[in-house]
Symmetry: C2
Subunit: 557 residues, 2 copies
């Protein structure tokens, strides 16, 4: 690194998405922004979670001066419980609610006592000194309270990191994006703006959370029996809205589902949720109320199979059943990849007799991310020299580049940086100067990193056409077939229906082994294995146009 | 069946979707409406296509008086090439363009010469007598020309079958839905309306195809270099619009991709497509034109990996490469399940430097299905006694029921019939009276029906956690372990990284076989298999919280 430059690297994510974990480096000092989880894409078969690849930091942990967290969503805090010790347990800086959410995770992972958690107060002008860096949090609006962006000053200049944001002019908690601090940062001539761009496809302005209230009032007013509202467990402002409207219409609100119960508890304790007197109740208490006085706020708005919404849709919940006359509101948009599961749940809820209110029929959710006019506003507020869009796929980066040009940013000053790209900034300088390992590490079950791309590719082959296990016992000396071949198949064809096919395949394998003077190769397992594989797969392709995985096993006797 | 009743059964589809194939039965006479393909859902691993389950018709083929096809989409004609002989090769009735599309498929399957294809003219008042049925086609608008619905009269009364429809008041081909015939059918007091309901979530009216033209004009006018438009190969009216606008802006249009080239050819020959003089050219001719005079109309708008759009996005097309300054228009909506593939293609096109215009950014596609106000209009035009929504999931049936009530249909006269439900109608009577086998048969590769749900479940297990083969050689007499256990894993963990884990698992298996007096069970394979399976899976679950498929194999020596 040139002496007067600051380095930015997006370490964690999939595709172009660089949102999970970002490294900022100047000289010997490193700070990390966010340490979040990724969620597997469709073809990452059997994978539960993705962790950021921290290879780059492996020999640098003594240089990490702090971890700064923008907000409490899983994709920004969820990997702390896996990676904190490996990063050398540096201090974690975050706002009050975010620290609360992090604390819960670290306690579960038995990392809390060793951790250093330091609260940020974005309403003061205090800054954190971390090595060569001076970090100033500023409030932004998002779909969770207490979200911030960071002004990060190093001797090379000022970086403004938006975090996930939108400009809600009438947020439910009354805490708007901090225009004054942004204006102040702007006056200090920022080198670069690192901006959320994931909602850049949408023209105009993302509607305020407040705009949902008329719909909720109408739905709650009209509902003849119980109401279920499914939303993100962290969407505290939505819960506040439901509590307020419930009180107006004489209903009480019971959270159901582990994560939402925990988050509501914590938000009340920390003063982020203000339930009208007597409105917030427990599930048990709710069960004694008349149907038209209950609102359940439940987990599972993304179709998660173990969450409450899915269970009630499938008549699989321990205590709650949904039925004729009940109303279910899905107050969330499905994250790409979850659409099908969510639609199935909606189908099943209708099947139980419920009236379901969801995105396709009513306005019951707004995004937490800035639309085009807000992204332009952020650019015009901050007026940086360079712009780096993040938190998007390639299409978002490309559309954002066009948008930035439209407000006067020179095209060459918009930098599209994928995962692992090494960005450097200094006075009059901003560019990608190299590349380091980045991306994701698979978590499958309780183990991390032992499932590689090779394993995923095998799963894809197995998923497509199944597997055939072919065993032959051969004479150790002569190589003559003593027994078999036998074939066991799974996921290929139902064996009982396919005796003829598998029988003929065995014949082909037997022929291949005898025709080719197998005796000459009696001890050559790899030769025999190859012969078996070739003969079986050629015949099966010919007959079925499929390519199951074929695993030969030669037993010598 | 009661003597004075007509029976309707939705035979083909998945979920509640009854669109692929419908049976109408009266006394000894049967007619079939549509014989289409289904497309596999996400969890139907490795499956290529779904055919309607025709078990119900197996012993009734001599009673089938005709197959009536509503329009030429795959999900309405695509299974003919598989099922026609099994249905006893009855005559197929369809409009001119639809017959052309069916002809292509039957020729490919070498079924054309034996087939009886009879053209329907929906502009005449002629009706087809088919056994006890009188079938009257009426024009409807849809996203393919020459689509019709059917009035089906039997001694039990009149059924009106909408097929897939919308009311486009300004269709590109000038052929509107036939209001006069619908009014005439209405005067004959229809027993039941069987109505497309798949777009019932959308309020208002589906915009006319014409409303896309300003966007296309703007995009084509602004494009500095080549333009690629990806759309459905059967969306002839879209191709007509592009041809017309191309001529205005001095460009020529070259279809690229097998299905779109064939469909355009046929549509020109049959008079359904009217290219302005000199505007329609071949791909080879296009390659000699300056970039700003070319529009390619290409296949692959659904993200199909082998189609042209995907190939150019991945720099994998034989002759065409997309680059800086090119414009790509995705003029189609992704069918549920295809979203992710389409988005990846968009990302890759941006990565090649193209400007991509798609649904999230611009209005470049409209649905072919009726929205709420059109569905109400159809109900009010036809005024049936009973209403049966079809072509939807359960949520669509439920929302349609509410919509039908809103225009005065008594709730008990809206019948929600899933696949295989036996619907009967007669004077003053309409109800589900029973159930027959229905749904789908899997096509995987070239074989039909040999992949069952058992096989799919195995593929799901394999996909999630992979497979372990555990082999042991035991003494035939004593049951003592002579060699092994050996473990081969695929899709579980990368073997080189997991020697310790698999080594310990082998130890557990060995212990299990020796501890349990295996000698007593020397000849009892199923006992030994169970022991191996239990020991290996318990250990692996304990260590990894995963459940790979475990296949034991005991070799005796």
């Amino acid at each position: 690194m040139e002496p007067d430059r600051v380095r930015v690297i997006f370490l964690g994510g999939i595709g172009e998405v660089g949102k999970n974990m970002t490294v900022v480096e100047y000289g010997e000092d490193i700070i990390v922004v966010d340490v979040g989880l990724g969620f597997p894409e469709e073809e990452m078969l059997g994978i539960d979670l993705l962790l950021p690849d921290t290879t780059y930091l492996q020999d640098k942990k003594d240089r990490i001066r702090g971890i700064f967290i923008t907000h409490g969503h899983e994709d920004h805090i969820g990997a702390l419980a896996y990676l904190l010790p490996g990063l050398g347990n540096p201090p974690i800086y975050a706002t009050r609610l975010t620290l609360g959410l992090i604390g819960v995770k670290l306690k579960e992972a038995r990392l809390f006592d060793a951790a250093t958690l330091i609260e940020l107060d974005p309403d003061s002008d205090a800054a954190v000194e971390a090595g060569a860096f001076r970090v100033e949090p500023f409030r932004v609006c998002h779909s969770i309270p207490d979200a911030v962006g960071f002004g990060i000053t190093s001797p090379a200049g000022l970086l403004v990191f938006t975090g996930d944001f939108k400009f809600d002019q009438t947020p439910v908690d009354g805490r708007q994006t901090d225009f004054a601090k942004l204006a102040d940062l702007s006056r200090r001539r920022p080198l670069a703006l690192i901006s959320d761009c994931v909602h850049v496809e949408t023209p105009g302005v993302t509607p305020s959370e407040r705009t949902l209230e008329p719909t909720f009032e109408r739905v709650i007013d009209a509902a003849p029996r119980r109401i279920f509202v499914a939303t993100f467990a962290s969407l505290i402002s939505r819960v506040q809205q439901i509590l307020d409207i419930a009180a107006l219409y004489g209903r009480k609100v019971a959270p159901v589902g582990r994560s939402i119960e925990k988050n509501v508890d914590m938000a009340v304790q920390l003063g982020y949720l203000h339930p009208p007197e007597g409105t917030l109740i427990g599930q048990h208490e709710a069960s004694y109320l008349p149907d038209d006085e209950i609102i359940y706020v439940v987990t599972g708005s993304q179709g998660e199979p173990m969450a409450v919404l899915s269970r009630i849709a499938n008549r699989d919940h321990r205590t709650i059943q949904v039925g004729e006359g009940d109303t279910v509101v899905i107050s969330a948009s499905p994250i790409p990849g979850n659409e099908t599961s969510v639609l199935r749940i909606i189908d099943n809820l209708f099947r139980q007799g419920a009236n379901v209110i969801y995105g396709a029929t009513d306005k019951v959710h707004v995004s937490g991310h800035a639309s085009q006019e807000e992204l332009k506003l952020m650019l015009n507020l901050v007026r940086p020299e360079y712009v780096v869009p993040f938190h998007g796929e390639y299409r978002h980066l490309a559309l954002y580049a066009r948008l930035a040009e439209s407000v006067g940013v020179p095209p060459e000053n918009v930098i599209r940086a994928g995962l692992g790209a090494v960005l450097e900034f200094g006075p009059g300088f901003g560019a990608v100067v190299g590349e380091v390992p980045a991306g994701h590490v698979y978590v499958d079950g309780v183990t991390i990193g032992d499932v590689s791309d090779v394993v995923i590719r095998d799963r894809q082959t197995l998923a497509r056409d199944g597997v055939l296990f072919v065993t032959v016992t051969v004479d150790r000396q002569t190589g003559a077939v003593l027994a078999g071949p036998d074939i066991v198949s799974r996921g290929f064809v139902y064996e009982r229906n396919a005796e003829a096919l598998l029988g003929a395949a065995k014949g082909r394998v037997r022929d291949a082994l005898s025709l080719n003077g197998a005796g000459d190769h009696a001890a050559d397992w790899s030769y025999l294995n190859r012969k078996i594989k070739e003969a079986a797969s050629a015949y099966i392709w010919e007959q079925t146009r499929r390519r199951p995985m074929i695993l030969p096993l030669v037993v010598e006797a």
